[in-house]
């Protein structure tokens, strides 16, 4: 047990095998460019963008192909240059008919004209940083995909005194943030500085779990001499990188229920988001690629820098295919083992938030049968929020919306710790997620 800081509760999934990160943590990021990409219009939280190109159009790298819609809207950019071959609905990981633009790559990588680099993050005009972030189409690259520029929308009476870069990477299997921090350390710090300057914040903290000592060291060196930037090592424990836990551990503050980090004067950004901010400010480049960890039951697990819209099938092929007969493949998930989304097919395009593709064999994917709760209390100990998952489960099973709401189901962060630890294999987290969605839908109906 390390002496580094941590929160109360949590679990240690795959602790015996280095959180499942061993196969890829030593692998340098390599580029992979697909022959064709299918770019979703709804990659960010908020209304999907509207396609502004047509079949047959020739597009350049970084050209806007989707116009933002609404307050949470973001532009979408071409991640390759080439010809648009399709505009229409495709299957995404959670939507059978998601609007997308398909581009055939001409491999010329011709950048669009009119990129507007702002120059050094230390000297560029601070007021231009947030518009640059929006124009670059940046949303949370750690998985939440919340539009980044909206996080910087400080309301009347609010202020931000600390920006936390989330380099915890507490999810199992994933090493994309780890590699990013090793290989592009100064870019990450540049992104943090840009974010700090945008809101005139004096303190920036890069928080990293202590299972990545090399990344901690690399970031410490990169942070040397940078104004107000420090690196903090945290205990390795899931969900250390959860926004609420991270804020609690780093600043000692708790985000009040139903409030946002800005209400406790904090903004949390993923390290990948920070690097994207730096790219947008320094080079004027939008998000056209990201690092994705491809691991699990594949022949050659890897960290790949892939163009947005690359299909899972292409990534698997690039990694040598399955390490087993495809008949024995059980599950393919976008993201780590605790929160990853199961893919309905291999023809799913990678979005800005997809940090990993993990393949499980049939045996690993087998659904464990639910048995009676033995009241062991492990879920109570594991919940990072302090809920009573065992009790909440009864309320959710009984469809008792009022009871579940009174038992704070809306405070559940859907981290999966209770489901992971339950010896009776009770379906806890998915029940809470369903109940949260139901209550939210009901509230929306009431308003509208």
């Amino acid at each position: 047990m390390s002496n580094n800081r941590t929160f109360r509760g949590g679990v240690h999934p795959l602790h015996g095998s280095h959180e499942g990160k061993a196969p890829t943590r030593g692998k340098a990021v390599r580029d992979y460019t697909a022959r064709s990409v299918t770019i979703l219009m709804g990659m960010h939280l908020g209304a999907p963008s509207t396609p502004c190109v047509q079949v047959g159009d020739h597009v350049k790298l970084g050209q806007v192909i989707g116009e933002p819609v609404g307050f949470l809207g973001l532009p979408v950019h071409a991640s390759v240059s080439g010809e648009v071959t399709a505009v229409g609905p495709v299957q995404s990981v959670n939507n059978p008919a998601a609007m997308a633009v398909t581009i055939q790559n001409d491999f010329k990588d011709e950048w669009v004209e009119g990129l507007e680099p702002l120059g050094s993050v230390e000297t560029c005009p601070a007021e231009k940083i947030v518009p640059a972030i929006k124009a670059a189409g940046i949303c949370g690259m750690g998985g939440a995909s919340f539009p980044t520029h909206v996080k910087f929308a400080v309301k009347e009476g609010q202020y931000c005194d600390t920006i936390i870069l989330n380099g915890a990477e507490c999810e199992t299997h994933l090493t994309c943030d780890h590699r990013l921090m090793l290989e592009r350390s100064s870019r990450v710090v540049d992104g943090l500085r840009a974010a700090m300057r945008a809101l005139n914040v004096k303190k920036g903290i890069i928080a990293i779990e202590d299972n990545k000592p090399d990344a901690i060291e690399a970031m410490r060196q990169a942070a040397q001499g940078r104004l107000g930037v420090e690196v903090m090592a945290l205990q390795t424990k899931y969900p250390q990188g959860g926004e609420k836990q991270l804020i609690q551990v780093v600043t000692g503050r708790e985000v009040p229920t139903k409030k946002l980090p800005l209400d406790v004067h904090v903004i949390v950004l993923n390290v990948g988001t920070a690097a994207a901010i730096a790219d947008a400010v320094i080079e004027g480049k939008p998000v056209i690629s990201r690092i994705t960890t491809v691991t699990g039951r594949v022949k050659e697990p890897a960290n790949l820098r892939v163009r947005i819209g690359t299909s899972v099938a292409d990534l698997l092929r690039e990694c040598g295919g399955f390490s087993m007969d495809s008949a024995h493949v059980g599950k393919i998930c976008l993201g780590g083992a605790m929160t990853g989304l199961p893919c309905p097919s291999v023809h799913i395009p990678i979005t800005k938030a997809n940090n990993g593709v993990v393949v499980y064999c049939a045996k690993e994917a087998v659904e464990l049968e639910e048995s009676p709760c033995i009241r062991c209390g492990r879920c109570v100990d594991a919940c990072p929020i302090g809920l009573n998952p065992y009790k909440l489960k009864y309320l959710c099973d009984a469809q008792d919306m009022q009871g579940a709401a009174a038992a704070n189901v809306m405070d559940c962060v859907v981290c999966g710790s209770c489901s992971y630890i339950c010896p009776a294999h009770r379906v806890l987290t998915p029940s809470f997620k369903a109940m949260k969605d139901k209550i939210a839908a009901e509230a929306k109906k009431g308003k509208g």
Binding site: K331, M338, E367, I374, G377, I385, G386, N408
Partner: protein
């Protein structure tokens, strides 16, 4: 390729109910061996009868009530074995059979099965036997060793005649008493295993023993002898820690364990029984839901003392 779409999390801790119960059984091995070595094969027969009855009763009950048969979770084996280890070595086999069936059918089954019983089945069965057949439940014999042909000599337990046994005897179990509770060394080995495998935490055993120590001392008894006599240590490790019937939060468990120690001291020092562990645990079992209600974890994002119902 048939892709599963079950939601996250996609990994699970390998501590299933069955694994936890198996851990308890492994932890009980030293007590079983010590019991047989001290009291002979009659102790082994007692355990066999109790375990068999528990498993068969569980099977029949689950079949008869149309529930899924879950004998494989090993919880009935644990109940049967713990009951046998709580009986006097010379108890007739039918006593174990009756107790075991009562524990499984009445205390556990009738209240909804595993997880829904509000008191520890083995403890409730022991209380029933003690109340119904005190003649068999309060006759103690000195350890005979494996050679059971030697006639067992009835003897007074250390609880009745404190000071007649050395601390060494109390620790190794060369004293009259229940099959499993006499050898403290064996119990401590079991405790070490349970802690090592994260089957239980230190909270309940440590606090319960400490509380017994402190309260018997306050009430004027030799605290060390008190802790090493009777079923205190065995109960602290194997029975007070029963998941189903103990509180779920750390502060609740502290109060629960301290309460057990206090009740044991009260019964032993001022009550009519020389022992008191059974009733102490049963009483605090009943208090567990209340303790769960009082001691909740504070929910993230709410002020201290804010009105949070939390389930």
């Amino acid at each position: 390729m048939n892709l599963h779409l079950s939601p996250a999390p996609h990994v699970h801790s390998n501590q299933s109910t069955r694994v936890l119960m198996r851990n308890v059984l492994v932890a009980l091995i030293p007590c079983v061996v010590a019991g047989i070595c001290l009291f002979g094969y009659s102790a082994a027969l007692l355990m066999l009868a109790s375990v068999l009855t528990a498993v068969v009763a569980e099977y029949i009950w689950q079949r008869a009530t149309g529930n899924k048969v879950r004998v494989g979770d090993l919880s009935a084996v644990v109940t049967g074995l713990i009951l046998a280890l709580n009986l006097p070595p010379q108890a007739p086999l039918w006593l174990a059979v009756v107790g075991s069936a009562f524990a499984i059918v009445i205390v556990k089954g009738l209240f909804g099965g595993l997880g829904d019983n509000f008191i520890n089945p083995a403890m409730a069965a022991r209380a029933l036997l003690l109340a119904s057949w005190p003649r068999y439940m309060t006759v103690w014999t000195a350890p005979t060793g494996l050679n059971s042909s030697v006639d067992a000599v009835s003897a007074a337990t250390p609880l009745l005649t404190p000071g007649s046994y050395s601390l060494g005897q109390l620790f190794l179990g060369n004293i009259p008493g229940s099959v499993g509770e006499v050898c403290k060394l064996a119990i401590l080995l079991g405790l070490a295993y349970l802690l090592f495998t994260h089957t239980i935490t230190w909270r309940i055993p440590a606090v319960m023993v400490a509380s017994t120590f402190v309260f018997t001392w306050l009430f004027g008894k030799n605290p060390l002898t008190s802790v090493l006599s009777g079923g205190v240590l065995f109960a602290a490790v194997f029975m007070a820690t029963d998941y189903v019937t103990c509180p779920m939060t750390a502060p609740g468990q502290f109060v629960y364990a301290a309460g057990i120690g206090l009740v044991i001291a009260l019964i032993r020092c001022f009550g009519g029984y020389p022992e008191g562990v059974t009733y102490a645990i049963l009483l605090m079992n009943i208090a567990a839901p209340l303790l769960d209600h009082v001691f909740k974890r504070r929910v993230y994002g709410y002020e201290k003392g804010a009105k949070v119902q939390n389930g």
